[in-house]
């Protein structure tokens, strides 16, 4: 049998469609008696509003898109786990899209906007996107960008202070007496803006400590992966003058580097200390455990969702704000050893 419609309910309850709609949505005030009549009819017919029709009438889909480079990157998975419930409790479904780090895909998304797609706004974690790409976006698309960026005044950005956090991570290694420190994960402009902020923090920590930066110890990697970390570590250990520490731009990079080091019989942290970035659960269970920069993911997730919904709900263009979530340094075995 065909599903009951609003009209069926109205008929059975002896009221108009308008009234049923009011009851369902709690918009306008309705007399108790009418409400009860309608509710009985709803139960009897097992009526449930058709979202598709509601969407069309509203012009809203009730969905937001979250676009990340890779779903199987634990950092994003953990972030999503914060985003989904927060969106849902405010009545929004979450569509997930994976770009595979494809800059073209990212660019298309923000240029084309939500038109022709069933979402009302987008949370984007860009990877290959240059600053310029952000300028020719669809202004009608509510957009929140994850990760720090140089302010553009148009979008909201939510992230931690990468320069400061990287500075702290590097100083942690310096404080432990390490002097030849590698940085693993640098990436060229324009795709690697986040990476460059981390390299900047790395340099500043050296400056502050009056230490020179050995440019050959700044290792570029294509991504922030385990395999990138392992490759980089192998290259570093092949040198005559290997480093005694490495600041890795993600925990995955650190875990890959750790794996490579141990494979070659290099001890961590005795021979080389490692610190990562992201504080994924995996780093709390590796052997040794990984020191890391821990971003406040819950705040990032919650803020991104609430900023986005604000933008969706607002008719005028809101100015872009920069939100800095907190972070803290967590020293584990890969720098301070087993105690």
């Amino acid at each position: 049998m065909r599903d009951a419609t609003l009209r069926d309910v109205a008929l059975l309850a002896g009221v108009s469609a308008r009234t049923v709609s009011n009851v369902v949505n709690g918009y306008a005030p309705v007399t108790d008696r009418t409400r009860r009549k309608v509710e009985r009819a709803i139960v009897e017919l097992d009526y449930r509003p058709n979202v598709l029709a509601r969407n069309l009438a509203n012009g809203r889909s009730g969905q937001i898109a979250v676009v990340v480079p890779y779903l199987d990157t634990p950092y994003f998975a953990e972030l999503l786990q914060g985003i989904i419930p927060r969106a849902r409790e405010r009545g929004y479904n979450v569509l997930i899209d994976q770009t595979d780090g494809d800059a073209t895909h990212e660019r298309d998304l923000i240029r084309r906007g939500a038109r022709g797609f069933p979402f009302d706004g987008m949370i984007l974690s860009p990877l290959g996107l240059a600053q310029e790409d952000l300028s020719d976006h669809d202004p009608a698309l509510p957009l929140v960008i994850l990760g720090e960026r140089v302010s553009d005044g148009v979008f909201d950005h939510v992230g931690i202070d990468d320069v400061v956090a990287s500075h702290e991570a590097t100083r942690h290694l310096i404080d432990l007496g390490r002097r030849r420190i590698a940085a693993i994960g640098d990436q060229p402009y324009p795709t690697g803006e986040a990476a460059q902020l981390r390299t900047l923090g790395f340099r500043r920590a050296h400056e502050e400590a009056g230490l020179p930066v050995d440019e050959s110890l700044i290792i570029r990697t294509p991504r922030f992966n385990r395999v990138d970390g392992a490759d980089a570590m192998h290259r570093l250990l092949d040198r005559d003058d290997p480093p005694d520490a490495a600041f890795c731009y993600s925990d995955l990079v650190a875990l890959g580097a750790l794996h490579a080091a141990l494979e070659r019989g290099v001890r961590v942290p005795e021979d080389i200390a490692l610190i990562g970035y992201d504080d994924i659960e995996e780093g709390r269970y590796s052997n040794p455990t990984i020191s890391t920069v821990s971003p406040d993911k819950l705040t990032i997730a919650a803020t991104a969702v609430s900023r986005l919904l604000q933008r969706i709900g607002s008719t005028e263009a809101l100015p872009g704000v920069e939100v800095r979530a907190g972070h803290r340094l967590i020293a584990r075995q890969s720098t301070v050893g087993r105690r």
Copy 2:
């Protein structure tokens, strides 16, 4: 300015809405000349069909829901990475829902069906769902269940042969000369059907080898997590007669167990050999690397999507089929050591 509608295009091209629709969807044949006219108008107006309206007219949302217990479980993240592109290439968006292992949530989903929700079908990875719960589902909801189940003849199930795979994993440990083998991850009926199949395979391997099963070495865990694995390992090592091997019901459990063992100075695999299940990338980078049962995730993902779309496309109720994807045993350092 308001977005262009199909009607605008029709007006500009001097044809009817019907014809524009035909051009856009490639349904009916259209003369080349008409097509060109329409296409020019589309470009000029920067027209894009409104999905919301299309959905309502079609009665379909063009979305499927994928429901997993936890998004940050690498196995599910990797599976999703296979599911999303496959759904998308067939024109479907993917909605992701997380149940947090809440049986009530799962039950509601399959009982209520897609009615009132903007998805046309569902791929469900159940956790707390008993066989009985599956019987009072909404028959109008196209549903594919991930993971092996006793056949119910109604839904499709896609998974590997858990009993056989677990048998092989256990025999691998036996073949290495281990005699006191623990099983970590058993769960009581009805929530842990997958776990029970693995326990069955574990028992069969013992039988086959003429070995007794020490029931006290079968450890129940609330979930399939790192922390569960670590807890279980601690308990096992607290015993006077600790095991010399453990078959873990997931790689996460194995990684947690590994962490706990190493923390206590117990060597892996010399003192205790470990094998996991799922073949997540993390197990290829841990120290030591984790031996595992590797399910063919791509086949699982592709099959689940194509079965679901078949069901969505079919008007009549299809019989439930059981699809067995392949698997293979991968021996790594946690059982055979570093060679």
